[in-house]
């Protein structure tokens, strides 16, 4: 389907938007690289799911959201978190199991939420956040607010019953929610060529009577156009949309991945479609930002992540003493 609203300024045509877009994408890239490095050096524990290569979909989908709009995220959620504006230091602190981390060291990489920026939480359960997003959208609708919810999930998640039930609920109640499927071609090792018998995940929208659209997830402007149109519809009360952003993860699924299920060539080919490089070229060629500014943004990202990592490192470790009292929220009334 195509959006009913006239195309809005492309992020690459507006200096301020272009700046924010690149800043977000570079911060995600550098954050993930730092995490990768910390794991490689054995300084981080647990597991991790990096979104390097997927910076375009996270950034494009969150670019024009209001701070009071909400998102639900996934196990591969660092990018969503950063794109929505979370504190890099508190994120890094969480991954390092620090008391200053978003979850006070209780959740780690897969459970970061940030109420201040409307992040209702990453999720360790594939598709676990989708019904929660529908429910949050229901709350906003009942509260008479014009807030919307963007729910991120992967291609693999669309084979879970939770996806089906949540999209149906959102459709029949025309909830203000945008379902953003980051189709990176694999659910762990299982390719979409085998896991679904259709060409595009977006075709599943028809089963719920909701619009569905497939865009190039590595074209941050295409993602912005599709999601922004869906956001307008949702705010107007015209209900949910399924947006499929086709992208690719450069790294393995998690640290234990040996990449046996895909070829070096495939990975190399997708690396040539770097969403950041593509957008930098666009803004340069359009004369929106000059080389010096671009370099400045890159340098700032490196410095910000370095500072966040240092500050996080210096923070005290998570405390165990109040662990029993952390299970339940305190009864007010």
């Amino acid at each position: 389907m195509t959006s009913e609203t006239p195309p809005r300024t492309r992020p690459g045509d507006d200096p301020e938007l272009a700046h924010r877009t690149l800043e977000s994408m570079w911060r995600i890239r550098r954050f993930e690289e730092a995490v990768d490095d910390l794991f490689a050096r054995g300084l981080m524990h647990g597991t991790m799911h990096l979104s390097i290569g997927q910076e375009g979909s996270a950034t494009g989908a969150c670019l024009r959201l209001r701070q009071d709009d909400a998102i639900t995220s996934t196990h591969r959620g660092h990018g969503h978190c950063i794109a929505k504006g979370a504190s890099l230091e508190r994120m890094m602190a969480e991954l390092l199991g620090k008391e200053t981390g978003y979850c006070r060291g209780r959740g780690g990489s897969m459970h970061i939420a940030d109420t201040a920026t409307g992040n209702l939480g990453a999720n360790g359960i594939v598709a676990g956040g989708i019904p929660i997003a529908a429910g949050a959208a229901l709350a906003y609708q009942m509260q008479g607010l014009d807030r919307v919810v963007v729910s991120f999930f992967g291609d693999g998640a669309t084979n879970e019953g939770a996806f089906h039930e949540a999209l149906n609920l959102a459709a029949i109640w025309s909830l203000p929610v945008i379902f953003v499927c980051e189709n990176n071609k694999y659910g762990m090792s299982f390719s979409t060529e085998h896991s679904i018998a259709i060409a595009h995940v977006a075709e599943r929208a028809a089963a719920y009577g909701m619009p569905g659209e497939t865009v190039d997830g590595n074209d941050v402007e295409a993602v912005d156009q599709a999601v922004s149109a869906a956001v307008d519809r949702a705010r107007r009360g015209d209900g949910p949309t399924l947006v499929e952003a086709e992208t690719y993860r450069w790294k393995g699924h998690s640290k234990s991945d040996k990449n046996l299920y895909r070829t070096r060539e495939e990975i190399a080919q997708w690396r040539t479609r770097d969403p950041i490089v593509a957008f930098e070229e666009a803004v340069r060629s359009r004369g929106t930002l000059d080389d010096a500014t671009l370099q400045g943004i890159r340098d700032e990202a490196v410095a910000t992540i370095r500072d966040a990592a240092q500050a996080a490192n210096a923070a005290p470790d998570a405390r165990a003493d109040d662990i029993l009292s952390s299970v339940f929220a305190e009864v007010a009334r």
């Binding site: 209780r106 929660i132 229901l138 929220a329």
Partner: protein, 347 residues
């Protein structure tokens, strides 16, 4: 006797506050709690399958749809996982959803949202969010609905850190505990026994809370302590009357809240009587009464035991359909009397 001084000793059937009481059925009491909460608080709403014009599979939501409208008494598709997930999302976004699942057996469809999401979000997210939702669902056998519509799964929920679990045994508790559950900023599972829905009893007119986490001593007797949950509470009380006629006096303790569990009234009663008979409808193996037994066995009450602890539970079988078979697999008044009698005489 020490038990009478016990704070939990006060029978909840009589109003703490002297408020007016009326006879209501258990399901009327549940409905009244929901109605009063919805009238008090715009954030409270009900969602579930056929809770609207149909009035609920067991008629519990009744006329709430007519009184509060389809927005706040919301019919849903047959999608338990989606419904509970929507409630979790609505709760983190500021609402106070009450989900009705038609039969507790169907919580199996929603376990991920109940256990991996609702129960863990507050802790896992370092307190960043909490999930003030209530899940109401009927459990138990006795209606001839067979194995997929008759389970008692309270032990599962009680085993999950982050969930509070209540099992009201009287109309007054059905109202008072539900009101507390709705107030609570955490997910609370309310397990209502189908066979209780039509039982009536005195219920305060006012929106009186019964606090979560307080067991109650429903009857006092010196010869043995019976601990029973749900529909087994009234069967135990009935059995106690028969036993009394035979000169055996039983105390009957109703935990009411399975998690957090208030064990003291049980331990004090057992220390006093020296005999414990633990009764549940659910299958015996790894059920809630195993926990009650363990609490006794790791306490000083152990030294006061005059006989081994006994459990009288459902057989470790799925619930069968045929009436005679269905009755045969769960404790009945006569089997309770027999067991109590053996316990007291045998020691």
């Amino acid at each position: 006797m020490t038990l009478t001084q016990h704070p939990h000793g006060a029978p909840t059937e009589s109003p703490q506050t002297g408020a007016t009481m009326r006879e209501l059925t258990y399901s009327e009491a549940v409905r009244e709690a929901m109605a009063q909460a919805m009238a008090d608080d715009d954030r409270v709403f009900v969602l579930g399958e056929d809770v609207g014009v149909y009035g609920g599979a067991f008629g519990v939501t009744g006329d709430l749809y007519q009184r509060f409208g389809g927005e706040r008494v919301r019919d849903t598709p047959i999608s338990e996982l989606g419904i509970v997930g929507a409630a979790v999302g609505a709760a983190v976004a500021g609402m106070r959803p009450i989900v009705e699942i038609q039969f507790s057996d169907f919580t199996c469809q929603a376990m991920d949202q109940i256990v991996n999401q609702a129960a863990k979000i507050h802790f896992m997210l370092g307190g960043e969010l909490s999930v003030p939702m209530v899940l109401r669902t009927p459990l138990g056998s006795g209606t001839g609905a067979a194995a997929q519509h008759s389970q008692s799964l309270e032990a599962w929920f009680a085993h999950v850190p982050g969930l509070k679990v209540v099992m009201p045994a009287t109309p007054a508790d059905a109202k008072g505990l539900l009101l507390s559950a709705i107030d609570d900023p955490n997910p609370v599972i309310v397990l209502e026994h189908k066979l209780l829905y039509r039982q009536s009893g005195p219920v305060p007119e006012a929106a009186e809370r019964v606090p979560l986490g307080q067991s109650v001593v429903r009857r006092e007797g010196a010869d043995l302590t019976i601990v029973a949950t749900g529909v087994m509470v009234s069967r135990a009380l009935e059995a106690a009357e028969t036993l009394s006629a035979k000169g055996i006096e039983a105390s009957v303790v109703d935990p009411r809240t399975l998690s957090p569990f208030d064990a003291d009234p049980v331990l004090e009663s057992v220390a006093h009587t020296g005999r414990a008979l633990l009764i549940q409808e659910a299958p015996s193996h790894v059920g809630f009464m195993a926990e009650v037994s363990a609490r006794i066995a790791e306490s000083a009450a152990l030294y006061r035991l005059l006989a081994p602890i006994r459990r009288l539970c459902g057989l470790d079988v799925p619930i069968p359909y045929a009436p005679a078979l269905e009755k045969a697999v769960v404790p009945q008044v006569d089997s309770i009397v027999r067991e109590a009698h053996d316990l007291v005489q045998g020691s």
